[in-house]
């Protein structure tokens, strides 16, 4: 009996141990369940994203870029299909054979294709390798015919930017280049995206690029596509209509051929830019594909800097083209009037230093009109002396010099209007009164861009409205230039008309069109003797300016010409303007004045 009781007690003890064990296991199971709750309930969304990253591959569908048109709707920058050859080496049974097949069609060396493949694989291991670009349609057809035998090749269609007018519109439009590390860092671009650089392409990048679409493909663990979601279609970028007149643009570029310089033509009534060229130029199509290193080297080592847009970026002394502004300032400040005369003997002394007029024999007694017409230096030395640098600088700034014009393409330079404060701040030396005399004829430290002179001439043409030059239509109210004697505009316009009719700018004269203009010469090195331009080495020759507008009675077009090392404005720059006005007359015969009776 005692053994039975002991056995039963023992059994109870053991049963208790079993129950304890089952509680421990139950707790452990609850612990596991709790961890599943954490992973599935709490962190589920994170893991679901990881699962989607596993199975979804996203391929961008590039949005076609917006087309850029000139004012008459002619395409300046458009998109054309371009065929690229992609190779998926894993899909090939015999890679050597595949490469030989492609090389035969492409008329290249299989080894070269293999090198491209290896280089591409190193950079982007999961994507098919780009082994050839810009296939001809015949080549495309041959690859498509062989699609069944050679599934490893795929012809990929990309939209390629085409600049039909090449060099002629390069400085207006800019170009496209592949997104760099900084662009990728913004998070708005993906590898392989093309981004607008310079010009319109850069300025209106956001509007032009549109919105890329996306293909989402479901892949298995070996990366094979098993399904595809409906694609998100791309949205093409907005088209842009420029104020540019392709005919004037092409004429300007043609006239600058073999010269170094710039032309700006704008409508003085609203600031719309009808032509803007800079020479030498470059072919922006070179950038649309990856630029070849030798092309790039040629562009950046060219001593004439073809990538520079001289119309906005070249700052030079305006030379005598500054004289109309001096006339406006002198009249408005009442230091002269229309009858004020100075005597020009070919030279005069200011602040103890002899100053020459460009005309050795002098102009004799000249009034304002004659001084403008013949560009008499001595007359404006006197005006400058009477005004002083402070007032000269103030009037120059009133007419837009020394500041950004606000044109809607990037890279513009502000130039420089010097005064005493500038001299002390920047040069750390006092302003010398003698420098005022230089500035009075647009020499010395004063620097202007062709675009700024265009704005200044537009204000003279339209009677005091300072327009913001622009490529794309927009409503930007003009600023009225304050502080100029209202009568002065007309006086200056008449003087400028005489320049072309019978003065220094006669080389720009176009029969049947009334043109107001002014020549200018920016001294490269000071000439102490009267020298002919042709006798000086090219790099030391002066820069030539011609600023103008027409018709005088009803100004429709401002034309600024700048020729680097062109010598005199009258001989180098004025004929370019003449060519542009002739083109204008062809397009607008209504501007032709009735032939004199």
């Amino acid at each position: 009996m005692t053994t039975v009781v002991r056995t039963r007690e023992r059994r109870e003890t053991m049963a208790t141990r079993v129950r304890v064990l089952s509680i421990v296991v139950g707790a452990a199971l609850a612990g596991v369940a709790a961890d599943y709750w954490l992973v599935q309930g709490l962190h589920g969304p994170e893991y679901r994203e990881l699962a989607d990253n596993n199975r979804l591959r996203r391929f961008p569908i590039r949005a076609p870029r917006g087309v850029v048109y000139d004012r008459d709707g002619r395409a300046l920058a458009e998109n054309v299909p371009s065929y690229n050859l992609l190779l998926e080496p894993d899909a090939s049974n015999d890679l050597q054979k595949s490469l030989a097949f492609a090389a035969a069609i492409l008329e290249t060396d299989p080894g070269q294709l293999h090198r491209l493949l290896v280089a591409h694989r190193r950079e982007r291991p999961v994507e098919p390798a780009l082994v050839a670009e810009n296939l001809t349609l015949a080549q495309v057809a041959r690859f498509e015919l062989a699609a069944l035998e050679h599934p490893e090749f795929e012809v990929d269609v990309q939209q390629l930017r085409l600049y039909r007018h090449r060099e002629q519109t390069a400085h207006v439009l800019g170009y496209l280049a592949e997104a760099g590390p900084q662009d990728l860092a913004t998070g708005r671009y993906q590898r392989g995206d093309m981004i607008g650089r310079r010009g319109i392409e850069s300025q209106f990048e956001a509007a032009l690029r549109g919105e890329d679409g996306e293909r989402v493909v479901v892949v298995d663990s070996r990366g094979r596509a098993v399904d595809e979601f409906p694609a998100k279609q791309p949205r093409q970028g907005s088209g842009l209509k420029l104020a540019i007149d392709l005919d004037l643009q092409q004429t300007a570029q043609r006239l600058l051929q073999d010269k170094v310089g710039a032309v700006v033509a704008l409508d003085p009534r609203n600031g719309a830019i009808l032509a803007m060229t800079s020479s030498p130029s470059y072919d922006p199509n070179l950038f649309a594909r990856r630029l070849r290193p030798d092309d790039w080297m040629r562009l950046i080592t060219d001593p004439n800097h073809p990538l520079q847009n001289r119309a906005l970026q070249n700052t030079q002394p305006p030379g005598s083209t500054f004289k109309p502004l001096m006339a406006l300032a002198g009249l408005s400040a009442h230091v002269i009037d229309t009858n004020t005369t100075f005597y020009c003997s070919g030279a005069a002394t200011f602040y103890g230093r002899a100053r020459r007029c460009w005309r050795r024999q002098g102009h004799g007694a000249v009034n304002l009109r004659a001084a403008i017409k013949n560009s008499c230096d001595v007359y404006f030395y006197n005006v400058g002396q009477r005004l002083g640098i402070t007032r000269i600088a103030r009037y120059a700034r009133l007419l837009g010099l020394g500041q950004l014009s606000g044109i809607d393409i990037p890279g513009e330079k502000a130039g420089l209007v010097p005064d005493e404060a500038w001299s002390r701040r920047v040069r750390k030396i006092p302003w010398y009164p003698g420098e005022t005399i230089s500035v009075a004829i647009g020499q010395g430290p004063i620097l202007t861009t062709p675009l700024q002179l265009a704005v200044m001439m537009a204000a003279i043409a339209n009677g005091g409205q300072l327009e913001t030059p622009h490529m794309v239509e927009r409503i930007a109210p003009a600023r009225t230039v304050e502080g100029i004697d209202p009568a002065a505009w007309q006086v200056v316009r008449e003087g400028l008309r005489a320049v072309v009719d019978s003065g220094t700018g006669h080389a720009a004269y176009v029969p049947g069109l009334s043109i107001a203009g002014k020549t200018g010469t920016a001294q490269v090195i000071a000439q102490h003797t009267w020298t002919r331009a042709e006798d000086i080495a090219y790099a030391q020759r002066d820069h030539a300016w011609f600023v103008s507008f027409a018709p005088v009675e009803n100004p429709q077009l401002v034309v600024i010409v700048f020729i680097e090392h062109g010598g005199h404005g009258s001989s180098a720059a004025a004929p370019v303007a003449k060519g542009i006005y002739e083109e204008l007359l062809k397009k607008r015969p209504d501007l032709r004045a009735a032939p004199p009776a």
């Binding site: 064990l21 089952s22 296991v25 599935q40 589920g44 679901r48 596993n54």
Partner: protein, 383 residues
């Protein structure tokens, strides 16, 4: 112990207890059938999940799994019918045969998954280690049940350990670390229930640590790699850590209600390795979400509770120890596998009872279930 006094000819092995024979189905009604019901429910869930897991595989494993399930039920009938007390009389020869099989498989077995642990039987494979586990459990229970005294003596503990260490050593040579590991809960649970003094417990824990340290030097490189990867899954995300990482992604992405049956992306797109066997629970978790996980864990909980209950209400030490041994084995498999799938335990190739595809383990699970219910059935007879 009356069992030891009872004569045990082999001819009487399949005889039902006298009481059962006289009381008919009245006794059968006292068996904890819910244990079998839960096992069958889990098997159905398992078959459905195996079907989903093999959808993206060249072989459809569902028919085979159903065949194994049928075989499992037959094995259940046999082990349920056999009087475990009579079986225990044959424990030593049974154990001897099982050890012989473990030795033979080292020479004539097929290599699968890096271990020489399979006998090929037609298109099927049989793992003798599962048979050996039952033989070991029976011998161990029989040995411990025959001992007198409140607590086990050291000599008895050493003997018991020896019984288990022999198959563990043989499995080490296959090498099948996971399989070997699954013998340990058997030993630990039976020793604990049979009665072990606290100081031996402390010594055992210390020994376990020393063995673990020594084992670190003895285990194979790939096994060490698995443990290191478990400790830091990012160590080698494309190699050994890949399975665990993909498994955890599958589990987590199931969220609350799952991706839907046959629609788990991790399983159907083949990101999840061993998805029809060791990682089947990840497929379930991905496709049925936490709701499915909670449901299956609940079933496992009831199954384990049922086993423990059978053990607790058994009237004889042999039956109790046998039931506890299987309880612990099931518990360890379930906890380790579900823990492994969610990254809580190292990946050791331990299948999930009733869910994972695999014949031998299915047979073991049903054999063990039969034995456990056999204990319950005979609790009024065997004392």
């Amino acid at each position: 112990m009356r069992s030891s006094s009872r004569s045990g000819p082999i001819s009487g092995l399949l005889r039902l207890p006298e009481e059962a024979a006289t009381a008919g189905f009245g006794r059968l009604a006292n068996v904890r059938w819910s244990l079998l019901l839960v096992a069958l429910m889990l098997s159905v869930v398992g078959a459905a999940t195996v079907h989903s897991a093999s959808a993206a595989m060249p072989v459809e494993y569902l028919p085979r799994q159903l065949a194994w399930l049928g075989a499992g039920l037959l094995v259940f009938l046999v082990t349920f019918s056999v009087d475990y007390q009579r079986l225990a009389l044959l424990a030593l020869p049974f154990y001897g045969v099982a050890m012989a099989l473990l030795v033979l498989v080292l020479f004539f077995g097929q290599v699968r998954g890096g271990s020489r642990s399979w006998f090929a039987v037609g298109p099927f494979g049989i793992q003798p280690s599962e048979v050996a586990k039952i033989a070991t459990a029976v011998l161990l229970a029989q040995y411990l049940a025959g001992l007198e005294g409140e607590y086990l003596r050291l000599r008895e503990i050493v003997t018991a350990t020896g019984i288990v260490l022999l198959p563990v050593a043989l499995l080490y040579f296959e090498p099948d670390l996971g399989g070997a590991l699954m013998y340990l809960p058997l030993l630990a649970a039976m020793l604990l229930v049979a009665g072990i003094k606290k100081r031996y417990l402390v010594v055992a824990a210390g020994t376990a640590l020393v063995v673990a340290a020594l084992g670190w030097g003895l285990i194979h490189d790939y096994q060490r790699e698995r443990v290191l990867t478990f400790l830091n899954p990012e160590r080698d995300p494309l190699g050994a850590g890949y399975q665990v990482r993909q498994s955890k992604i599958a589990v987590g992405s199931g969220e609350l209600v799952g991706r839907g049956y046959m629609r788990g992306t991790q399983s159907q797109l083949r990101f999840l390795p061993a998805r029809h066997t060791d990682f089947i629970f990840a497929v379930l978790a991905e496709e049925w979400g936490f709701l499915g996980v909670a449901f299956v864990l609940f079933l496992y909980g009831s199954f384990l509770f049922g086993c423990a209950e059978v053990a607790a209400r058994a009237r004889d030490k042999l039956g109790m120890l046998l039931a506890v041994g299987f309880f612990a084995t099931f518990a360890f498999h379930i906890l380790w596998n579900t823990g492994m799938v969610v990254g809580l335990a190292p990946n050791s190739g331990i299948p999930l009872p009733f869910l994972s595809y695999g014949g031998s383990f299915m047979l073991f699970a049903f054999a063990a279930t039969g034995l456990v219910l056999g204990v319950d059935f005979r609790r009024y007879v065997n004392r």
